[in-house]
Structure formats: C-alpha cells, structure tokens
Amino acid sequence: MLLLLLGIIVLHIAALVLLFVSTIVSAWSVGREYTSDLWTNCSSSASGYHCETAFTGEWIQAVQAPMILSIIFSFISLFLFFCQLFTLQKGGRFFLTGVFQILASLFVMSGAIIYTVMSPTWVPQSESYGFAYILAWVAFPLALISGLIYIILRKRE
C-alpha cells in the first residue's frame, strides 16, 4: 500500500520536474550556434554569446502561457492529493486531483502542438528541436497517466 502511494507520488513529481525543466531551459530549438526557447533567443556569434528576449510575436506567448499553466495546475493537483489523502472517506476517489493533473497534461499538449505548428515560421530549417521540446512531449503522457491513475484509484485505510 505504501509502495503504491510512493510510486504515485514519484510519478507525479517526475512529471512536475519534467514540466519545470522543459519550460525553463533554453533548448526548444537548437542550431549550430543558435539556441532558442520560449523566453530568449541566444546566439553565439563572433562577438560572443548574447541573449535577447524572443521577439517572434504573439504565438510564442501562446506557448508560454499553457506551459506555465500546466506547472501551476500540476502543483495544485499535488497539493490537492495530499489534502484528499487525509480528508477523503474510505473508498472515495481522488477525483479532483486527477482532474487537475489531466488538465495540466492537456495544457502541455496544447503548448507543444502550437509550438510544432508555428515553428516553421519562426525557426529556420537548419535547426532541430532541442531536448526541452522533447521533454515537453514526454511530460504530456506522464501527466496524463498520472491523472488517470488518480481517477481510478480508491482510497483504502
């Protein structure tokens, strides 16, 4: 029983950490001397390495927002899990926790989809997707599975 609880918490925290790393690290698309992410475009040219805030317009902000929202919802879901762990009656389901976690996964999915669709317009063809972008796609099924487990799980004493 304790093992199951620990496993679920570890899964949840793993999804949360992936979301954090994916949102913060500057590696959504990498080129030879150019990395960019949701927040800045960094380029290392002859005059050194300098970063400037991404000016690619409205769509990048439409990706920033779901990523941040997914982090917030995942946090809220973790908090609700601990709340419900101590206040739910026997046999009750962690419905609210699961709903918030699934919402977080949906936000990550929408953010990653928008980035994929809009990237031909603001990322040159020579660049490839960085690991932070891949982490976002990995975090989505993890969060989804975690949320579904919460919905199916029943509280035992």
């Binding site: 805030t53 991404a54 000016f55 317009g57 409205e58 902000q61 439409a62 920033q64 927002a65 779901p66 941040i68 929202l69 917030i72 419905f95 609210l96 709903v99 699934i102 919402l103």
Partner: protein, 281 residues
C-alpha cells in the same frame, strides 16, 4: 581624500572647537549629540548599558555614513529600452543621483552606437549652460535638448525616427567635483508597428484561466451554501407550522431532515461532477 581623514580624526576627538564639518557630517553630528543626550537620560532610568550601546551605534553609523558619501560615485539613470514607431519622436531621459549639490558646472554627454557597430560617436554635449550638437552625427538636425540641468535632467528629444536609428544611446553626466561613476545606456528600437509587449498575451491567458478556476470554485460553494440555506429555511417553516408536540414534530423532522441532507449531498456531488466535466472540456 585629505578632507575625509580630517573629518574622521576630528570626530574621534569628539567635538573640536573651530572645526567645520562637511555638509553631511553636520547632520549626523547633531543626531549623535541628541542621541548621546537622550542616552544619558536613559542611563539615569536604567543601568546605562542601553545608553552606552546607543551611543556606540550612533557613533559607528556616523563614521560609516560620514565616510561613504565621499567615496560614492555619481549614478546615472536612463531607461533600459525604448520602443518607437517610424517617423515619430522619442524622448530619451537621463538623470543622475549625486551626494553633492548640483553645481553650475554640471555637464551631460550623449553618445550613440549603431546596432552592429563597435564604436560610439558623440552626438550631444551640454556644459556651462550651453548645449552643443555634433555636426557630423546623424542627428545634427533632429536633436533637441529638453532637459533641465538645475533639476538634474539631461533629456534629449530625437525627431523623425528611421530604421537606421536603431542602436544604443549612452548618457554620461558629471557633477563637479563628483565626476566618478559609470554612464548608463538606453537601447532604441524602431518598429513599423508597435508589437505587443512581451508577456501581455501570456499574462492574459494565465489570468483568464485562473480567474475561471476561481469563479467555478466560488460558484460551487455558493450553490452549496444557497441550497443548504433553502433546505434549512424549509425545515424551519415546517417546524413552525406544526407547533404542537415539540418532540413528536421533532421526531418527524429528524428523518425528514436527514432525507433532505442526503438529497443535498447527492445534488452537490452531481453538480461537482457536472462542473468537472465542463472543466475538462
């Protein structure tokens, strides 16, 4: 530097007749005197250890604050970045902070480094009450000095902007004898149409979703509260109508009340499920 040592040693001697302290030190010297006088008062009330502590604290603060202003340099403030439309005018503001009074010899210097260039060229200089615009700069006929040097403002206005005006403007202010310190730069970006500021849409989306969440939670609790109140008022009215035989009516009320409560719980959980389903969509 000689001035500072004289001030410090005088303070150590504690009140030398004929010594004229520097401008900031005078104020702190007076506060020290007042604090030491109050500390002697408090020493009469309690053992005097607090008085001694206060005096020591005041003395150290005076020494520190007396020395620090003399070594602090001038601090220049400009903006960080300015956005403007093609063809419009822009005001580049520059002001400074200095421990000294504003001297009549205050001077402002503006220089400009285009985007991608390595060197900066001087475009404007103000000194001795006269404003000078560099003849060879790209702004010689478009620049106007709108600052007020006596109020420490050295702003300039550049008219009729163009895309070639993208670059970094550096303001350097000097307030003799306070001439140390570093200049400050403001970056100018010229656009065809002003873009939406970074973060506005992000903030709007996040705010909207979180607001929706809060609204749903509030509505849920409100509905629960209202339904509970309606049930309560219904049961009270029933109780009021059948006034005879309190216990008999109570016995009849108790199962009715629990039935109402069960109905209420069912209704609440139904609503919760419905709202969560709506939330998912």
């Amino acid at each position: 530097m000689r001035k500072i040592e004289r001030g410090g040693s005088s303070l150590r001697q504690r009140g030398v007749v004929g010594y004229k302290p520097l401008d900031c030190e005078l104020l702190f010297w007076l506060t020290l005197k007042s604090i030491s006088s109050t500390s002697s008062l408090t020493s009469s009330c309690n053992r005097g250890s607090t008085g001694r502590m206060l005096t020591l604290l005041a003395l150290t603060s005076v020494v520190i604050l007396g020395i620090v202003p003399q070594t602090q340099a001038i601090v220049v403030y400009t903006g960080w970045e300015r956005h403007a439309l093609v063809g419009s005018d822009i005001r580049l503001s520059c002001s400074f902070f200095s421990w000294r009074w504003t001297s009549p010899d205050v001077s402002f210097s503006w220089s400009y480094r285009p985007d991608g260039a390595r060197d900066s060229i001087a475009i404007f200089h103000y000194a001795n009450g006269e404003a000078y615009v560099a003849k060879k700069s790209p702004f010689w006929d478009r620049l106007e000095f709108v600052g007020n040097p006596s109020r420490r403002d050295g702003s300039i206005v550049i008219k009729n902007l163009d895309f070639s005006d993208n670059g970094t403007f550096t303001c350097d202010a000097k307030n003799p004898p306070d001439i140390g310190g570093s200049a400050s730069s403001v970056r100018l970006l010229v656009f065809e149409n002003v873009p939406i500021q970074a973060g506005v849409i992000t903030g709007a989306i996040i705010g909207a979703v979180l607001g929706l969440l809060v609204l749903i939670v509030v509505i849920y609790y409100l509905m629960r509260f209202l339904v509970a109140r309606r049930v309560f008022s219904l049961s009270v009215s029933k109780h009021g109508k059948k006034g005879k035989g309190k216990e008999g009516s109570q016995q009849r009320q108790a199962p009715a009340l629990s039935a109402e409560q069960a109905k209420l719980k069912a209704a609440a959980s139904e609503k919760k499920k419905q709202e969560s389903r709506k939330d998912k969509k």
